[in-house]
Symmetry: C2
Subunit: 339 residues, 2 copies
């Protein structure tokens, strides 16, 4: 059955409490003792007994992860990161998908609550005071990711606005005259939560607002989900055009259309930039210029923040707005060969 | 709160039972009545009340989906398919990942059972009588996918052996003299469940066994997970070589290495073939020759089979081996430009 915490305590000649502190990364233990305990745990292939832990702590040792879908590669990467990170801390993850449907989101939140998830990491598609009140009513610790709700919630994300502003400045610095900005979620403004996408778009507008007076740059925004169809009707070759995609998933489609259907050269005939730096970009040529942030870190920070809440036994209601935490992940522009 | 089953029954002038039959796709109802009920349900935007259903049926209306990880794109596609398909039938999906670790798999199965999942779709990493006995002991309906366990379990998959045999014949038909077969999971033979990978490999061997006597074809098998490192030491240009990858995820890495690091031309200097036809192949050039099967159909069949078991209230123990069902999905070779 493997080694137990008691066995480790005996081997290291420390108390069970000390072993627990070491294994669960809690303070009140010297670095040396901690290192020794972790070493022994590793050597003897220690596996925490989650069921026992769960009983002892009155927890289910599971957290819910609520995402839109797994089509966008960045969600799959995030899910992997959350899962790996939670598992290291002894928690299991239930990943549930909302398909960007506000009604489904409420349903899955109900279910996670009904089965007593210890906490929830939520990429929300709902928004507004009514929804936030509903979340409060669950009484379950919640960390929001990417789509912000309000100051009342712990949040992990990136500075999307500033990132897209810099991305746009990067595009403008290459002398592009016409920008085509692709972002179908903008069509859901006021309907569902499109926080990250709206922020990115505002960042683009901010950069354009700072263009010196003498210079002419035009902007065309595509909110149609059949954006490739819209591109088909555009004279992309006439001006020096850059297609700005609010995420890499769109950029891959656009690259495909522009190169293999439209038979244009990237970047010679038209420039393309993405956002997210999803892992499959490695295999794509020309290399896509994009905005990179560490999605593994994002998943890890979300888990850390949530477990902090769970383990301090603070329900949403006990935490004041001032105590809410935000973890903003760094980003950088990755210069590929597509612009 | 939306329309209820009672409302639909009143509007259509039928019994509640008839509406239930129509909405849950059960027999004992005329096609005409069913069509009318579904029409009314659609018009009035009927949403099943899962909590009420769950209470009424003594079910949680959730199923568990146990997969390795989401790195391999085909798993993410499968997860999406299962989720969409289950949701249409009123079930929510808990996706849990095992990271190919047999101990974690048992843990997550325990958890799914403890929280009373109505059924489980399992891509198993464990195997053997002891594991099957353990699964039996859960008493939860289970459908296995891809990695087969034994005749005692419902199963959805493809004929991996025959598919890889044909893929190999396709490679041989192009006159290749040397085959490099990449499949790191083979290193886990006898340790974990590598059913699909072993079947694919056997298919390759079967094709080679049928090569006419006069013709010389050599085979080199790479089981090292750092297969790119192994390729680095191989004189790929000397013979007419095809690199056969037991899944597309490896093929993408190999294409990347061969083209962008080794500076060889595909297929002129070396041929490459994959397996799975993952969705991102659309964006990759040259187009990868691969084996395609409908992963959405696979997810859908698995859900259908599982719900059949759940809704007939048959636990694993009540079903004899003879009644076990297998759903074998079609496949085909997709001719790209990489061979």
């Amino acid at each position: 059955m493997g080694i137990t915490i008691k066995d480790i305590a005996r081997i290291c000649n420390v108390s069970v409490g000390t072993v627990d502190r070491a294994l669960n990364n809690r303070p009140g233990i010297s670095p040396k003792t901690k290192a020794r305990i972790l070493q022994v745990a590793k050597e003897y292939n220690y596996r925490p007994d989650y069921v026992a832990q769960s009983l002892a702590r009155g927890r289910t040792m599971t957290i819910g992860l609520v995402l839109f879908d797994l089509y966008n590669r960045s969600f799959a990467q995030l899910a992997n990161a959350v899962e790996a990170s939670a598992r290291k801390r002894g928690y299991s993850v239930d990943l549930v998908l909302t398909d960007k449907d506000p009604a489904i989101e409420k349903e899955v939140l109900n279910r996670l609550h009904a089965r007593k998830s210890d906490g929830i990491i939520l990429f929300p598609i709902n928004e507004g005071p009514e929804f936030e009140e509903y979340l409060q009513s669950l009484g379950t610790p919640i960390v929001t990711i990417c789509n912000r709700l309000s100051d009342h919630w712990d949040y992990v994300g990136i500075n999307d606005r500033q990132a897209m502003k810099e991305a746009t400045q990067h595009v403008l610095a290459q002398g592009y005259e016409h920008l085509v900005y692709i972002c179908p979620p903008l069509a859901y403004r006021g309907v569902t939560n499109i926080y990250t996408q709206e922020e990115r778009y505002q960042g683009c507008l901010e950069a354009l607002a700072e263009v010196p007076e003498g210079r002419k740059v035009s902007l065309e925004v595509i909110e149609d989900k059949d954006y490739v169809e819209v591109l088909r009707r555009m004279p992309l070759e006439e001006q020096k055009t850059a297609i700005m995609c609010s995420c890499d998933a769109y950029a891959l489609e656009v690259m495909h259309y522009v190169q293999y259907e439209r038979q244009l050269r990237v970047p010679d005939d038209v420039g393309i930039i993405g956002f997210d730096s999803i892992d499959v970009l490695k295999y794509i040529r020309p290399e896509l210029t994009t905005v990179e942030y560490n999605v593994e870190q994002m998943g890890c920070e979300a888990v850390n923040l949530l477990l902090e809440r769970i383990e301090s036994a603070g329900s949403q209601k006990d935490v004041t707005v001032k105590e809410r935490k935000q973890r903003i992940i760094d980003y950088k522009i990755i210069q590929g060969n597509s612009l």
